[in-house]
Amino acid sequence: MSLLLILLIVLPLLASLGIMVGANPRRTALGAAIVNLVFAVILFTRYDLHSGGWQYLSEWKILPRLGINLTLGADGLTLTMFLLATLVTLSALWIAPKIEKREGLYYVCLLFISAGVIGAFASLDVLFLYSFHELALIPTFLLIGIWGSGDRQAAAWKATIYLGAGSFVLLIGLLALYLSIPSGLRTLDIRQLDQMAATGAFHPASWIYLVLLVGFGSLVSLFPFHSWAPPAYACAPAPAAMLHAGVLKKFGLYGLIRIALPLFPDAMHQFNGLLILLLIGNILYIGYVTVAQKRLDWTVGYSSVMHMGYIFLGLASLNLLGINGASLLMFAHGLSVAAAFALCGEIRRRTGTLDYAELGGLAKVTPVLGLLFGFAAMASVGLPGFANFAGEILVFFGASAYGPEMIIPVIIGVWGVVISAIYMLRAYRNIFWGPIAERWASLSDIAPTARWSVILLLLPLMVAGFYPQIILRMVGTALPR
């Protein structure tokens, strides 16, 4: 039993319970988020790298007949994801604007997303991995529908039905996986599944991998299952978009690394061509779609879909280097996209619009906001010094090591970096530089709370950018030698 790890999941739920019975929403939520971040850092630093593997384990029997237990635990990759989740949660709650109506529900929804995603990362049991992720479904629906902007209702519907159906496909895949285990050995424990696959005790059919790829893929917005993501992120209130794009979306990748990678080594080789084709769709097709956007929220939304392509490229390289890079990139992208959405929300709150045609020259009146946005944009492009750069480099190296057939995807990937530079620099120029319109002359600069909640995201990004080993040696513990 590791109390700290259990508290990481329970605390946000307790806080939301407290808010439901009348505690001050903002203070309770922030308190829980701060404590959670401290816990995550403690867990991260106290992880025994020397012995590696799963630590902080605790287990309860739920359905013994089906071999289903609620098993919680963490290895280096999980702890990195905890760190990401708690950082983004704190930043998202902190930057949340003053809510006039139903403030309690707003914070309860955010806390539920946070608890769900932490629970999903902490679960060693496939069923609970899945179940915890679904905790976010209704809160997302409510957050976008009630507090969103633009065509929020359509976006909320699309995202909810897409994610609901996508996760049901995933569930069918997981059930099929479960049933392909010889009866008597049936379990959903990741450790035992790994072991069985390693010793050759069971060979799941390769079509199950395809079902899982579609299921997890639609949660990560793998091309062509991506169309829910940009409108949802564009319309969601900033904290919801931060949590969703920054953390929740990483769940699908996490699932693929945890489940598909060890259990379907042959199928992943067999269908690697398909995966590469799809991820090129993400990088190239979505990349150009991003360039065509005329509003910042849509640009950031599409860019987050596009950047999933790099992470998939890391997975498709099927070697240690690439997958390490993909894991680092998951962490880096989560922080950078959360920062971008946070700043999106700040700009929208000031100007009421994110349309490039209407904005310009804001750096004159909001220099700090402009500076922070510059940092976030450069991180997102993958400028050296940010963790995104280290991740992308590793992904490209890893992919190149796969073999000659990867040369074209890698070239496209590098070209994708150019595409991201184009749209991010354009956004930066259109919003912060050039002549300033009369009506923006009296805008106030970013407030200290918002400033620090963005710095909270950018600082770890730079630390991991200059010294990526701090993350790499952790995520390395999760990967097969």
Binding site: M20, R102, L171, L179
Partner: protein, 480 residues
């Protein structure tokens, strides 16, 4: 405790309460509902004492059984009746509005007592293993339900619902009697357990009339279970019937129909020729029920009709389980699904009852802004809808999980694909209710009052949904 004793006790409580009602001078008769519920709680407790079932060799042995299926569903029907009875006091204003006021509170008493007789009928039905017994208990339940559905006799919707229910109910009764007589004519027995033995000795040529008889019974049962091809009465009757009766119809009555279906199919499972054909038929019916229920639910704007179509949809998922009866785990899966279904359906009807009374209608738009008028009611409905849609950590999710597991195991991949599509459709129409409650602005800001009884029902059913969704093992243990 002899199983027959429990039903007799229920009938006795009903008769005593009728006498109390006749001689009572109090104008508020809703206390009878509480008395009835208390009596049923007593019966429920009695049902946990060791059951010896019918004595071997006694005359009742040929008619009823006390296997785990009957024990589980007897309790299930008792719980469903108790919840329904507890809903009735909140329904009193509607009853008084639509009943001729010869005397104050007239008619409320009987409305609270009649469900007890339906309960007894359904309890007999889930323990019965003989067609005659099934038929008699079915009629006891159905005829009492005719009265209950038409109870608001100055309300046209209720009368229309009652008429439809009566005509189609009578038709399905005709089908079941006709089917029984064909089966009896071919095999010479009306006992379900004796059927396989009797069929084994039959010549090849008598298979066709036997299948015809079984088909007739399947059609009649589809009326009870609200499944294709006899599902079209469901939305109309659900909409027009008094809300507690609708809730009762959709839970208890459906369960009893499914138990008979399961008994018949399990018995015939041993005869490959027939089992093979029945599998095909049930699979087809399950698919059609799923498609019909879910697709028709999408455009609904009335909450009761939505729940009606949703109950057809859930009959489809249950039929998926019935189609997989070849697996040992199918019956536990179906039983668990029903336990989940009871909690989530009853919870949504309880909230509907309160909201409809406070806002004066049962359209989904009446739920607009409910989260601002009563966070408790909105939260309860949110939980019920999440469970009906099948979101993890609710009972509905584990139910669907178990059903899909046996379906995949039995190789019903076509059904599973239809199931995925219909689950996505379900997300849409259940979330429509959530949207109304949380996205929309309320027509008026006043707080909706919630009585203590309703709070208790919400607390118990809500806790049950979460408990079944997080720790399902105890319920599953009773289903083996």
């Amino acid at each position: 405790m002899n199983t027959l004793f429990l039903e007799i006790a229920v009938v006795a409580i009903g008769i005593i309460l009728l006498l109390v009602e006749a001689f009572s001078d109090r104008s508020d008769k809703s206390y009878l509902a509480y008395l009835g519920a208390a009596g049923l709680v007593g019966v429920l407790i009695l049902s946990f004492f060791p059951s010896h079932g019918p004595l071997p060799g006694s005359s009742t042995e040929a008619f009823i059984t006390s296997d785990f299926l009957s024990v589980f569903f007897v309790r299930f029907i008792l719980v469903a009746t108790i919840v329904t009875l507890l809903m009735i006091p909140g329904f009193r204003p509607v009853l008084e509005r639509y009943l001729p006021a010869e005397r104050a509170g007239g008619g409320v008493g009987e409305f609270a007592i009649l469900p007890l007789f339906v309960c007894a009928g359904l309890m007999w039905m889930v323990t019965a293993i003989d067609f005659i017994m099934i038929f008699v208990s079915l009629e006891l339940a159905t005829i009492t339900l005719y009265v209950l559905v038409t109870y608001l006799r100055q309300n046209n919707a209720s009368l229309e619902a009652g008429t439809k229910f009566l005509i189609l109910g009578a038709l399905s009764t005709g089908f079941i009697v006709y089917g029984i007589s064909w089966i009896f004519g071919v095999t010479g027995t009306t006992n379900i357990l004796a059927l396989p033995g009797a069929i084994a000795t039959l010549p090849e040529t008598s298979l066709a009339p036997l299948l015809f008889g079984i088909a007739m019974i399947l059609v009649a049962l589809s009326f009870k279970t609200g499944a294709f091809p006899f599902q079209f009465w469901v939305p109309d009757v659900y909409q027009g019937a008094p809300t507690p009766v609708t809730a009762y119809l959709s839970v208890a009555s459906k369960a009893a129909g499914f138990v008979v279906l399961i008994r018949l199919l399990v018995a015939l499972e041993t005869i490959p020729v027939i089992a093979h054909k029945l599998h095909a038929v049930i699979t087809l019916l399950a698919g059609l029920t799923l498609i019909f229920g879910n697709c028709s639910a999408i455009p609904q704007t009335n909450m009761k009709r939505l729940l009606g179509y949703s109950s057809v949809a859930h009959a489809g998922y249950l039929l998926m389980g019935v189609a997989s009866l070849g697996s040992m785990l199918a019956i536990p899966a179906i039983g668990f699904y029903f336990a989940a279904y009871l909690a989530m359906t009853m919870l949504s009807f309880v909230v509907l009852l309160v909201v409809a009374e406070a806002t004066g209608g049962d359209e989904i738009s009446r739920f607009n802004g409910l989260s601002q008028r009563s966070p408790l009611l909105a939260g309860a409905m949110l939980l019920a809808m999440a469970s009906l849609a099948g979101i993890p950590f609710t009972a509905g999710f584990i139910g669907k999980l178990l059903i899909f597991e046996v379906a995949i195991k039995q190789g019903h991949f076509g059904l599973v694909v239809i199931g995925i599509v219909t689950v996505a459709a379900g997300f849409y129409y259940y979330f429509k209710v959530i949207r109304a409650m949380y996205w929309q602005q309320p027509a008026e800001e006043t707080v909706i009052p919630v009585t203590f009884t309703v709070k208790m029902i919400i607390a118990v059913l809500g806790a049950a949904i979460l408990a079944l969704g997080i720790y399902p093992a105890p319920i599953l243990a009773t289903l083996r």
